[in-house]
Structure formats: C-alpha cells, structure tokens
Assembly symmetry: C4
Homo-oligomer: 128 residues x 4
C-alpha cells in the first residue's frame, strides 16, 4: 500500500526537450554515424499513461501531437525517428514537448549506433 | 553544529532514472566497448542511508527492490550490472527508481571501460 | 484553448549556463575538432520571445547583453560563436545568463562538427 | 537598477555533485587520456562569493573544506585536481558539496585534454 501511494507521485505531466536533431544520413559515413534521439519515459503509475508529443521547429509550425501509450509500471525508450515514417524531417533543428495525462519522468538521450546503444549525451528533461 | 544542520537537508528521498541499458557484450567488440551504467549516490547525513532500487522494463514487471546501504558522509558509485549476478538482463531497455529512508543525491553516469572511468554521459537524476 | 493555457506556462524567464568555452582553433587539428557551444531555446508561447544574453568571464567584466528574438512556437539552436563576429574571445572560459520577457526553456549542448551535429554533452540549463 | 535586483537572485547557496573521479594516470596512455573534473561556478552577484568545498569518499572521512573565492560578476571553472596538490587521491570515487555565502550556479563538467577543452559530460549540479 505504501508503495502505491509513493509511486503515484513520481514525475510531472509536462516535459520539454529544447534540443533535437536527426542527421541527414547522406551527409556522413552512414550507417555507423547514425545517431538516435531518444526520450526515455518512465511510468511508475499502476495505470497506463497517454503521452502527446509536439515537435517544434525553427522555421515552420509545430507538428503533432503524436500519441504514445505506456503501460503501467513500464518504461519506453522512444526514438524520435520512429515517431512516424518521415514525420520529423532530417537535418533540421527541432525541439519537443511531452504532455501526459498522469505523472511521468522523461530523460533525453542521444545514442550512437556504432557501439550498440552507447550514449553520447543525456539529461533529465525540463519538468514544466 | 551549523554543518550538521545544513548537511541533513541536502537531497531528496526518491529519485528516478528513466534511461538504462547494459549492452549484450557479445554484440560488440568486447570488452573494450563494455559500458557501465552507474548511479552515483551521495549521503551527506551523519547516519547510514538505506536505499531500495526498483528496476522497470518495457515488456515485463518491475524487478526488486534491491537493497543498498551507504554509510554516513560517504558516496557510493553503484554499477547497475553489479546489483546481483544476472539481476538486470543484458540488451534490454530499463529504468530505475531509488527510494532512501533519508535524503540523498543521485547522479546518473555511464562509464566507458576503455579509458579507465572515462564517462560518456551524466545527469543529475530526477528528484521526485 | 486548453493548449494555449497550458503552453503559456512552460519554462522560466531566467536561465544560467556556467560552462562555456570556444576553442582556439589554431590549438588543435582544425577544423574537424571545432566544437560548437549551443543554447537550444524553446519558445512554446504564441508570441515572440526577446532574449537578452549576458556573457561572464573569469578575468574581465561581463559582455552584452546580446539580443535574440524567437518567433512564437519556434525553437532556436543558438551557437555562441555566432553571437557576433569576435564577440566571445576564443580559448577562454565563459558562462552565460539568458533573460527572456516571457517563459522559455533552455538546454545547453556542445556539438562536434566532425559528425554533423553529433553532440558531446548536454544539460538542461539552470532555471533561476 | 533592475539588473542588480534580478541578478542577485540567480542561483542557490548549496550544490552537490555525486560523481567524481580523477584517473590514476599510470593506468592509461597518459597524458592524452587525462580527464579533468571541473566545477563551473557562476557568480552573478556584484560582490565576491566565498565557496567551501567538501569532498566525500566511499571508504574514508570527508576532506576539507577547501576555500575558493570568486569575484563579483565572474565565472570560475575550477578543476578538482587543482584544489591542492595531492588533495584528492587519484583512482578513487568521490563526490563533492559546494556551499557558498551568496547564491551561485554550479555545472559539473568533465573535460578531455586530448582535444583542448573538449568536454565529455556535463550536468547542472544538484541545488539543495
């Protein structure tokens, strides 16, 4: 019982990640230079979380929201380049906002596929 | 006396780290590509801290809690792959929640064993 | 309507980034070792944001403020070495403070130009 | 006048960095593998800041405090291996707490000397 009460309070409903960039693969020695922008999402609640993701750009209107569901007591390491085929254009700067219906925790990580999930950067996202 | 009072207030009791991944070594040029997920824990209190660690996955129920004790005024750089032999499966995404009986501070770091503790990423964990 | 209300509350007006360093290119094997200090700024508001950036040094008075405008619902990944030709001297430690007229979110990232926007470090800035 | 008021409120008095490690150089291909643990400190106040740094270990009592002064409106990128000759032993895990008499902002960064200040990791420290 104690756990249920405590766990329900872990996290926030709104998170922001100002940094985002999916390389244009043809610009580098693909595929080993391909990097993967990831939003690691933790849902400590007993119930499933519904997350709405909005993508912001420097030169065009926002895209989305994209809908992602995460089962209760599960984590999802969501790659932005898998949000939908061609959803986020390559080679442009973007940012993202995640809004969930229940509290979640979000960590932004960029992975380098050369080394099987060897990360290059990571930060807890901004909790609004 | 001043120090004792101030130090007792450093940190929080609950911390979350959404990112976690222990590579399947056979997938890369082992051992030099082995990375070490680490939770650096600081206990500024005079008394020992007991920390309960729960591991969350994308496709199976949570694991734990694993119990770790940290003496007063000490730090512990805990490697997740040493939580228990085979406790966390290799090659799968995970997340973690640390719950302590007294305030602690937690920093998530991934180390690259190729260069004797040369870190690749780091972030202060999310304080619930 | 819901979105407008929620989005207006994302972020803070003042952000600090204590770390900053633009290499003196002649000291390394340029240009492939050139790194780019970046402040990724997200403006979720409907209206444009005006950001004033002040640069602090270890051995001289602060520089600025430099003025940057960001349209509503847009992100700007601002490179410090493009704040103004020669504005920030190379090869010296600096820090920065960003003050906006409306709430924004700021993430500090260092990019490595060898790999087309492959980041080396990143952290959400400090929200004052 | 506005600036003076706003700037005085940037930061916190107590910061914690759970991660710390200064390699034993003889264990690697020195000096190019030497990494530098750095606490980037920003003092936005008009007056100087006095910072007391305490170092925590996994297996011995805390060390310090070491005293560092930072002039008003200046930044100091403090390398832990320069806190005092031999002050922090090499090859052991440590953590640090910084306590200032006025608000400061602290960012933890590890630099790789191979590439002239090319950072490998960074995070805003934990503000107590």
């Amino acid at each position: 019982m104690r756990d249920a009460v405590v766990m329900h309070s872990i996290g926030r409903n709104i998170w922001a990640i100002p940094e985002g960039y999916i390389p244009d693969h043809s610009m580098g020695p693909a595929p080993e230079m391909t990097s993967h922008e990831t939003a690691c999402i933790l849902n400590c609640n007993r119930e499933a979380a519904r997350v709405e993701i909005t993508i912001y750009f420097s030169d065009r209107p926002p895209l989305g929201p994209f809908i992602v569901d995460i089962a209760g007591e599960r984590t999802l390491h969501l790659r932005f380049n898998e949000l939908g085929e061609g959803a986020i254009p390559r080679g442009v700067d973007y940012a993202s906002v995640l809004r969930a219906n229940i509290p979640i925790v979000v960590q932004h990580t960029r992975l380098d596929s050369r080394q099987a999930q060897n990360a290059l950067l990571s930060t807890i996202a901004y909790a609004a």
